[in-house]
């Protein structure tokens, strides 16, 4: 531990942390652009300069480790003047783009100009240096060089985190520019992160630009469904459609990053949704759909219930309870035919299901293909696109009654005799257990689409129609029961934040 004095108050902090992080522990925010807790400190933006007694020059807080006896001032006259001056320099060549800039509303320059700038401009617009706009850096990212403040976060990200040399700071002085190395593109599997860490509107997302103003977005903390890592994300919606996904810092899971596949893994939530229950005779109301499902299940000689490693622990548990209460003779097996992808050493895991571990803990894993080959008369598939993942299963399921609880019109739903719409993870509460056994909660950001219901509510309805009693007062009751029944799920893991992450 080190004792230091921060703005006149003696404080104790762990050894070896820099002044930005140390000050943050006591709610003192030191402004910064180039510093990012996940990258090596560079000290080039000069925004975090603070006064340390005994040192004549201001020191950058990001590169200064706290030391015993250090006396630090973050709000002295000298420091405040310096911040204003740095803001003036940063804005000297900055274009007046806010009205058309995607970063507006979440821009470091806007934020700090209001907090530390407020100077009158001493630059005529025609004196500003013109640079390249709309530079195509790679599949996800567009660069506007005029807006860039050359903090080099993106360059350091590629070098240090993605482990590729794709971006570089070219040229010198006022002609400095971010660019890709000759003949290279910004295409590493994590390239989208440079959009998030860019404190200004220089690096924008091809996927998100011009879609919607950020102040209209509603945000919820969630978990990425893309693989068994369980990266923490924010889902952001406008008019009940997901607009973008951003990483949510969690030092134990994904630090500050997500992969590009995860970043784009939302389009299916907005597209080809199943809005109403449909049977062979046309559309059904939710109640009719539950009765229809009950009828098919009752008339079938043998029933197989298929669980999914993409369902939440709570929905998996509800399916188990459904079987026990309403269909004790039915077989219940979980699994997925989703093709694994190549994992990497950064975040991506080979298995592309977010809850295989939870499914195993709940005892639902088994030989799915073998169970299907046993030729049950009726197969009820929950949140599992069997036919999309394995088209050859169509032969196996020919002539079987197929009931699909599905959020989208996927191949399985299309083939089903009865398809009942259910909510995606973005519309419900739930939890997934990642490959390490860490159970994490996700929260709804969208209202249920069409007549879709949470899986457990559909199962309740079918059970009711089958004359069984299955009833939870609310999701909380289901969650409590789930975690009591399966102690191996542990408890919900908190999300430790990611240090100084002001921008």
């Amino acid at each position: 531990m080190a004792k230091f004095t921060l703005n006149g108050v003696e404080r104790e902090v762990p050894d070896g942390i820099n002044l930005i992080e140390a000050a943050l522990l006591f709610g003192v925010r030191i402004p910064h652009y180039c510093y990012h807790p996940g990258l090596s400190p560079e000290g080039n933006c000069r925004m975090c300069a603070v006064e340390i007694e005994g040192i004549p020059k201001l020191q950058t807080a990001c590169t200064t480790l706290v030391a015993d006896g250090m006396v630090v001032h973050t709000e002295s006259e000298k420091v405040i003047r310096e911040r204003t001056e740095v803001m003036e320099f940063l804005l000297r060549n900055h274009p007046i783009d806010c009205p058309i800039c995607d970063q507006a509303g979440e821009c470091g320059l806007q934020k700090y100009y209001m907090e530390h700038g407020l100077h009158d401009s001493r630059v005529a617009v025609e004196e500003k240096i013109l640079k390249r706009k709309r530079v195509d850096l790679g599949p996800l990212v567009v660069l506007d060089s005029e807006r860039c403040i050359l903090c080099s976060r993106c360059v350091r990200f590629c070098d240090e985190i993605a482990g590729v040399r794709e971006l570089v700071l070219a040229n010198r002085g006022g002609r400095s520019e971010i660019t890709t190395f000759p003949g290279r593109t910004l295409e590493n599997p994590y390239s989208g992160n440079v959009i998030d860490i860019c404190p200004v509107g220089a690096l924008t997302s091809k996927d998100f630009r011009f879609k919607v103003r950020v102040w209209f977005l509603k945000t919820a903390g969630s978990i990425c469904p893309g693989c068994e890592r369980g990266c923490n994300i924010y889902i952001e919606q406008y008019q009940n459609e997901v607009q973008r996904i951003r990483p949510r810092a969690n030092l134990d899971v994904n630090r500050w990053w997500i992969c590009d596949d995860g970043r784009l893994d939302y389009k299916w939530i907005n597209r080809d949704r199943l809005l109403r229950a449909e049977g062979e005779a046309g559309a059904h109301s939710p109640e009719r759909a539950d009765e229809e499902a009950a009828r098919i299940l009752r008339e079938a000689g043998s029933v197989l219930l298929v669980a999914s490693p993409r369902s939440s622990n709570e929905n998996l548990f509800a399916l188990k309870r459904f079987r026990d209460a309403a269909l004790p003779r039915a077989a219940l097996v979980g699994g997925s035919f989703r093709k694994p992808w190549e994992g990497d050493r950064i975040l991506k895991r080979p298995d592309r299901n977010p809850n295989r571990k939870g499914m195993e803990i709940l005892g639902l894993s088994g030989d799915l293909e073998g169970a299907l080959r046993k030729a049950p008369d009726c197969v009820l598939v929950v949140e599992n696109d069997l036919l999309g993942d394995r088209p050859d299963l169509a032969d196996l399921l020919r002539g079987k009654k197929l009931i699909a609880l599905a959020s989208n019109r996927d191949a399985t739903a299309e083939k089903a005799a009865l398809r009942i719409p259910v909510c995606t993870y973005a519309e419900t509460e739930g939890s997934w257990t990642n490959f390490e056994g860490r159970t994490q909660a996700f929260h709804p950001v969208l209202k249920a689409v069409g007549e879709s219901r949470p899986v457990f509510r559909v199962l309740e309805g079918i059970a009711r129609a089958l004359g069984a009693s299955l009833e939870w007062s609310d999701f909380g009751a289901l969650r409590e029961e789930t975690f009591q029944a399966a102690p191996a799920l542990g408890s919900l893991s908190p999300s430790p934040g990611g240090g100084a992450h002001a921008l």
């Binding site: 201001l58 740095v86 003036e88 320099f89 050359l150 002085g173 002609r175």
Partner: protein, 413 residues
């Protein structure tokens, strides 16, 4: 008469080269460090830091040490190292051998300015001769220890003369200064303890080893021992490099040695130590001596000994315009104040020089210079601000005479 083959090993040997290095290699390294410390030798790169003291900053227990020779001489008005490289490269190599032995370095890197063509050829040939003669290599000078020399050519960036940018450049990275601390003596080239010394600094070592610290201190002043190579350029009858003992009057250097201001004109201003040192008026210039302390007393610096002489016909705004342009061109672009400020300052000076500047512009110029000082990773911003401030304050009337609104106010905001 100058020997046209002075750069060749045979000429250098005839003049006594490599006697001092042989003597040094027979001594304990610590003894050489002590000699250099006692001599009071101060760095000739510009900052004037005591060389022996710098060497003692190396950590006691280290697995490798590097010496980097700074031959990136790019400071406008300075061309003394070029002369050593061209005319007496073996003096430098001998200095390198002595320094390597003193700091227990087995591999020295010489970083030479990219635009130096003949100097590069000469030092390369001299190094080859030294290797062939066994003065460098696995058994340097028969000492039983290896001393290797790698010559690395820069690619035309003034900033690579800044010691940590030089390290980055050798490592194949972009030439931009590193944060200090850690200082290079702890974490330098390839992460190892490293000493960076200027060419002229190292060229002083053979004399010190051969004649001892007292003989060295007998020349020059107490605080600035030894001699100094002064590059004299500009409006001067005999431009060139002059070796003078520290402490001689500047007037003597200008008027006598260098033949006086060209055409018998009057001196108007003089930059004493390379373009980043504050300009002196004629009165100030004629009152100083050529040593660190005397020039420092005027608020300027002896720096790298680059004397730029300006006569009475010089337009000081034009002169600053040239300097500001140079600094804007050479800022590495890493730190906000310098990157944005250097170009902004150059623009304003240009505007004033063209007669389009206003009083507001002049005020802006002064405030910007104050804004960039002291808040950057390296001292490049100070190097730009100091000439700006000194030109504007000492020759203010000239700047005001250029202003568009000096008589009538037609200024657009």
């Amino acid at each position: 008469m100058v020997n046209p083959d002075s750069h060749a090993l045979v000429s250098a040997r005839a003049a006594g080269a490599y006697r001092a290095s042989a003597k040094a290699l027979a001594e304990e390294p610590e003894e050489i460090v002590r000699l250099v410390k006692d001599s009071g030798l101060r760095g000739r790169g510009g900052a004037g830091f005591p060389t022996g003291l710098k060497w003692t900053f190396l950590p006691k227990n280290r697995d490798a040490t590097y010496l980097c020779v700074n031959a990136d001489e790019s400071e406008p008005g300075t061309f003394k190292d070029r002369l050593i490289l061209e005319k007496d490269p073996h003096l430098l190599i001998e200095g390198i051998v002595i320094a390597c032995h003193a700091i227990r370095c087995a591999h020295a890197y010489l970083y030479i300015r990219g635009e130096f063509c003949l100097p590069y050829e000469r030092i390369r040939a001299a190094a080859a001769e030294a290797y062939a003669a066994g003065l460098l290599g696995p058994n340097a000078g028969g000492s039983g220890q290896p001393i290797d020399l790698t010559i690395h050519r820069g690619a035309g960036a003034y900033i690579c003369g800044e010691e940590t940018a030089l390290l980055n450049s050798i490592e194949g990275k972009k030439g931009q200064p590193r944060m200090k601390p850690p200082f290079p003596t702890n974490v330098g080239l390839f992460g190892k303890p490293t000493v960076i010394n200027n060419v002229e600094t190292l060229a002083n070592l053979p004399f010190i080893v051969e004649n001892g610290p007292d003989a060295y201190r007998a020349i020059g002043t107490e605080k600035s021992p030894g001699t100094r190579l002064m590059s004299v350029s500009g409006h001067i009858e005999k431009p060139g490099v002059y070796e003078v003992a520290h402490g001689v009057p500047m007037r003597g250097l200008i008027e006598d040695l260098a033949g006086g201001v060209r055409g018998g004109r009057k001196l108007k201003a003089l930059i004493p130590g390379g373009s980043s040192t504050p300009v002196l008026t004629a009165e100030e210039a004629y009152a100083v001596n050529v040593d660190f302390e005397s020039v420092q007393a005027t608020g300027s610096m002896l720096g790298s000994g680059g004397c730029i002489v300006m006569d009475e016909t010089t337009d000081m705004v034009w002169a600053l315009d040239k300097l500001a342009h140079f600094y804007a061109h050479e800022s590495c672009g890493q730190c906000t104040p310098c990157r944005e400020g250097s170009g902004w300052i150059a623009e304003i000076v240009q505007k004033i020089a063209a007669g389009n500047g206003t009083r507001k512009d002049l005020e802006k110029l002064e405030s910007l210079a104050a804004q960039i000082v002291g808040n950057t990773i390296c001292v490049f911003s100070d190097a730009l601000a100091m000439p700006v401030v000194s030109h504007v304050t000492k020759f203010r009337a000239e700047f005001e005479a250029h202003l568009a609104d000096r008589a009538s106010s037609s200024a657009a905001p």
